[in-house]
Symmetry: C2
Subunit: 622 residues, 2 copies
């Protein structure tokens, strides 16, 4: 518990919940980090696909970015409406379940879960990618660094949301400031040079074209670039976390995030073309991220460059935090509906949904290990989930306005319908163009998750039906249980168990597995140790049952015998007393065999509802 307090802070009471609400200044880092930081991998992902086109490919980044910005604007207006309509937090899951039904809701839930796990993994791996392009010698430590950052994020989030905002405030604003300064400076230089600025540090030479531009290649580049839009839905999920009036605060936050994102995407596209900067092959020696090349070209490798790289590293890694803020909330909502295990809905000691944080951390770690921590290998899996959730959420909003009706509902339906259509087309484009590269994994994963959620729900329903009763407790024909005390040797612990047995039932049996040393002694003294005191107290004399065991096992003969006893007495409960030494230090348990634990577990699993187990502790002093 000491370690937990140092790492996670003291426990918080439920009433502290209100105090954890935030405003836009903190909301931008917490819910916008993912969206903002994705400018560091979105354009790069598009440019990576344009590598085969050589210098000619770079030109295509401007129309591709323009399409992405248009799509982003549509999605922005759609989500403004969602925030107003769902002040309790209008995640795609909530909106889709409420307006479209259970199955679309589960589809949204599964898409979002996949999306969040990828947000965590891609954010971290892109951050480490930025560091590796600045310090190539770190290349071989890519995966360990990714996992280290993941552990750090997990700990930060287990502490709770208020502290999290504090940690992320400074790097986020530093990142935005650095990028905007670089963009303004670059644009000024470009204008001054009539569109052909001279780079301070020249970018690596591009290879000549090995391919001509085709529609499919450009669509693939667009799909990859769309990852720059992921994270925009985060604010609508977390409306409840904002200060009152929370809908308005959330909308302001979303507006600022999207405006900054558009400015950065547009600026980067123009400058990348002006400076003639292309992507370098990821995961190979000599890799240098597009932002690193661009900032070096605009400003040189000076203090500003290193500050920017530092901010990019930190912000990208921490952008994964958006997933940590939202995944546990999402899985809580799903768990409350019974589609995910209930423990995900329990608040932990710091008012956060600990189990959800652990689940996200484990899943993201699995992805990072599987793909070696290389961003570019994760990108094709990304975007499907995010855009699927966009589509379902906007479609749900259309149904919402239809149902609600009233003034402006037609206009609102139009806005959300446009959003739904645009994002649905994008899902199709991403699926087709990225299918063989990894989108098929997402396509398998999402139905898999949906089936899992269905069977979780079915099991909960089954259990609830099985144990449901309005009937009172039954107090008729009460008979004391048949008590069985397994005995290895005679000592205080055994004597104590026998005494307790007498307090709950007159039907007591000792049970002993024969072995060379102890059996004779126990049989010889049974009359004196147990039978005599029983007779004196007017109780029936307990029998000592001896069992043989040709294999050196003691557990299964006891379990088998107890089950037999229960079968022979269908009208009685059978109670097995397991005497157990309780040591003052955990490591003393290494000195004892764990037979009592195994015996108890076996009796529970192999037994039935009429066989119960009593642990009779004997506490040793320290």
């Amino acid at each position: 518990m000491k370690l937990a307090e140092v790492l996670l802070g003291p426990a918080l009471a439920t009433e502290d919940d209100k105090a954890e609400r935030i405003g836009p200044a903190k909301g931008i880092p917490i819910f916008g980090l993912d969206a903002l930081s994705s400018v560091a991998y979105g354009p790069e992902a598009a440019l990576t696909l344009l590598i085969p086109l050589g210098m000619a490919g770079i030109g295509y980044i401007v129309p591709i970015s323009a399409s992405i910005i248009i799509l982003l604007t549509i999605v922005y207006f759609s989500y403004r409406q969602t925030i107003m309509a769902y002040p309790q937090g209008g995640g795609s899951y909530t909106v889709a379940s409420e307006n479209l039904g259970v199955w679309p809701g589960l589809l949204a839930a599964a898409s979002l879960m996949v999306d969040y796990v990828l947000t965590a993994a891609v954010g971290i791996s892109a951050g480490v990618g930025a560091l590796v392009s600045a310090v190539p010698a770190l290349d071989r430590y890519t995966l360990p660094m990714c996992l280290g950052i993941l552990v750090f994020l997990t700990l930060i989030n287990l502490r709770g949301v208020r502290e999290t905002g504090g940690v992320f405030l400074f790097p986020t604003y530093l990142f935005v400031a650095c990028l905007l300064v670089a963009i303004v400076l670059g644009l000024a230089k470009t204008l001054a040079a009539g569109g052909h600025p001279v780079p301070v540090v020249a970018a690596p030479k591009l290879h000549g074209p090995v391919e001509a531009a085709g529609a499919f290649l450009l669509l693939r580049a667009f799909s990859s670039g769309c990852t720059a839009m992921t994270g925009v839905e985060a604010v609508s999920n977390g409306v409840m976390a904002f200060r009152e009036p929370s809908s308005k605060t959330a909308r302001t936050t979303l507006t600022i995030i999207v405006a900054v994102l558009i400015a950065m995407l547009a600026g980067l596209a123009v400058l990348v073309r002006a400076y003639g900067i292309g992507a370098t092959p990821p995961g190979e020696p000599g890799y240098n991220s597009v932002l690193s090349q661009l900032i070096a070209a605009i400003a040189g490798k000076n203090v500003f460059y290193w500050t920017s790289i530092g901010a990019i590293l930190v912000v990208l890694s921490l952008s994964a935090n958006t997933a940590f803020a939202d995944f546990p909330r999402l899985s809580r909502a799903i768990a409350q509906n019974g589609f995910l295990p209930h423990p995900l809905a329990l608040r932990g000691r710091r008012l956060v949904f600990e189990k959800g944080i652990y689940a996200l951390a484990l899943l993201a770690a699995g992805l990072l290990v599987l793909f070696g921590g290389i961003t570019d290998r994760l990108i094709p899996l990304y975007a499907v989930g995010a855009f699927m959730a966009f589509t379902l959420s906007q479609t749900g909003m259309v149904m919402h306005w239809k149902r609600v009706g009233g003034r402006g509902s037609r206009r609102n339906m139009m806005v959300n319908g446009l959003g739904a259509t645009a994002t649905a087309i994008t899902v199709a484009v991403v699926l087709v163009t990225k299918f063989t590269e990894g989108a098929w994994i997402t396509l398998l994963l999402i139905p898999g998750l949906i089936l899992m959620m269905r069977s979780v729900k079915r099991h909960y329903n089954y259990v609830a039906r099985e144990i449901e009763t309005r009937a009172p407790a039954n107090a008729e024909d009460l008979r004391p249980p048949l008590v069985v005390v397994p005995i290895e040797r005679w000592h205080i612990v055994t004597a104590n168990a026998i005494r307790f047995a007498w307090t709950i039932s007159p039907d007591v049996r000792g049970l002993h597995i024969e072995c060379e040393e102890d059996t004779e002694d126990l049989c010889r003294r049974w009359a004196e140790l147990v039978e005599a005191p029983a007779k004196q107290a007017g109780l029936p004399a307990p029998e000592l049952v001896l069992l043989k065991s040709p294999f050196r096992w003691v557990i299964s003969p006891i379990v088998d015998w107890v089950i037999g006893l229960e079968k022979d007495n269908p009208d009685r409960a059978v109670t097995v007393l397991v005497p157990e030494l309780v040591e003052s230090r955990w490591y003393y348990y290494l000195l004892h065999n764990n037979r009592p634990e195994i015996l108890k577990a076996m009796l529970l699993f192999k037994g039935n509802s009429r066989i119960n187990v009593v642990t009779i502790p004997w506490h040793l002093k320290d």
Copy 2:
């Protein structure tokens, strides 16, 4: 259980023990593998230290090997006597404890434990080293290969000793045959060439001397070379495993092992000098083991070379098996005396001491990971433990003969005394020459182990004293326990627990942690659900106790309240009934919170001997 049977074979009954006895043909691979295979790293370790002397250094291998052979002969005669005197298995631990007392016995035990762990680690790492010198591309997989072999050995040994002998028979004899053929061929070529044979494949050129030979360097080389002697004591430890007459069979086995070992050491020394072969720096690219160089020089890189390398690889890796044969027996003997945890003395399902096998595997894995699987880094730790055990064993034998007396006892004392003196000097030499390189680790480890064993023993004595009683069970003033049933909601599981409570005591209380949803319903219906049936059956109406919990915890309020109840009723036992759902599949448990388990554990640890816990299972159908 299915997986266990595939991996480990069906369980064996105790009577099968006799059938597991072996003769020399199987005894040589099982108990001699370590000793025999050490020719592959002993001479190499000595030559590695002679690298700085250049070509001149190689000449020193002959006198160094001669000293080792003399020492080996002395030790051989000493151990022959030990085998005769201790037909039940005269490990250094047994001999030292019986003849020298508890502390020297523990010193021997600790030395041997360290020795066996190193035997396992060095054997495996040297085997992988042989493979790496034949296939340099595998260099980067050194550690994973080491750990893979360790897992394989662990599984083999969990199956039991008879199968183990079968697995190791062929490679051992192939190894011995290859080495003897190479030596005879090499000696013939050397004689034919008048002492200056022409190598078929020339060994790598040696660097010129950078140092002159000094006494300290030569002593260090001797210390390293002494690792070739480790494992000689194995036969005397395992006399019981041999066929009747077991002492005689064991002696024959030891004689064959030592004779072959001497022949190989002598042959290698002569040939290494004749062919001018030196060691290559270990752990660096271009590493090529001495045996690999020598066989290539004598016979060329043909089928014979690859067969030999294969046999060396397998045998070296499996030489670790000697440790797996002996470590569990040793730790069992120590555990039976109460100096190590008792579970180490329990035979498992295949009549082997499973816990000892697991312990050895874990410790060896730790060493391999710590030292990256490089033999040469492990060598300095080695030999201290082995020779310390030799010394204690021989000293113990001197005391043994002194006590026994009779014909020949003076001669026997002389033999063992000579052995003790020679090995004690070697311990001193190894400690001084290897101190800074790692022998200090062993020097810390051994007293640490001794202290640990003392405190284990002390704790067992304490527990035995605490629970010791000859008094009969107490049947006076029996009163039924106060029964507490924690209740979350009303369902069949709860109703069943209440019913059981009434069968064991009239004093029943329901205990409920207040929460928004369920509290009101439960309070309103308590009279109807519980009080009414109790009254009808003539029992006192159970009280429903409500507890508040500002933190969202349910466990600690219950535990605190139960402890309070126990304090208020010093003459009664308190029994807490914990209703628990038993699911048909383990993975269903992921769907439930683990509160029942935590509650039970907390009640045991925070409670005392008057608070006991009943698990009331409710079995769900599949």
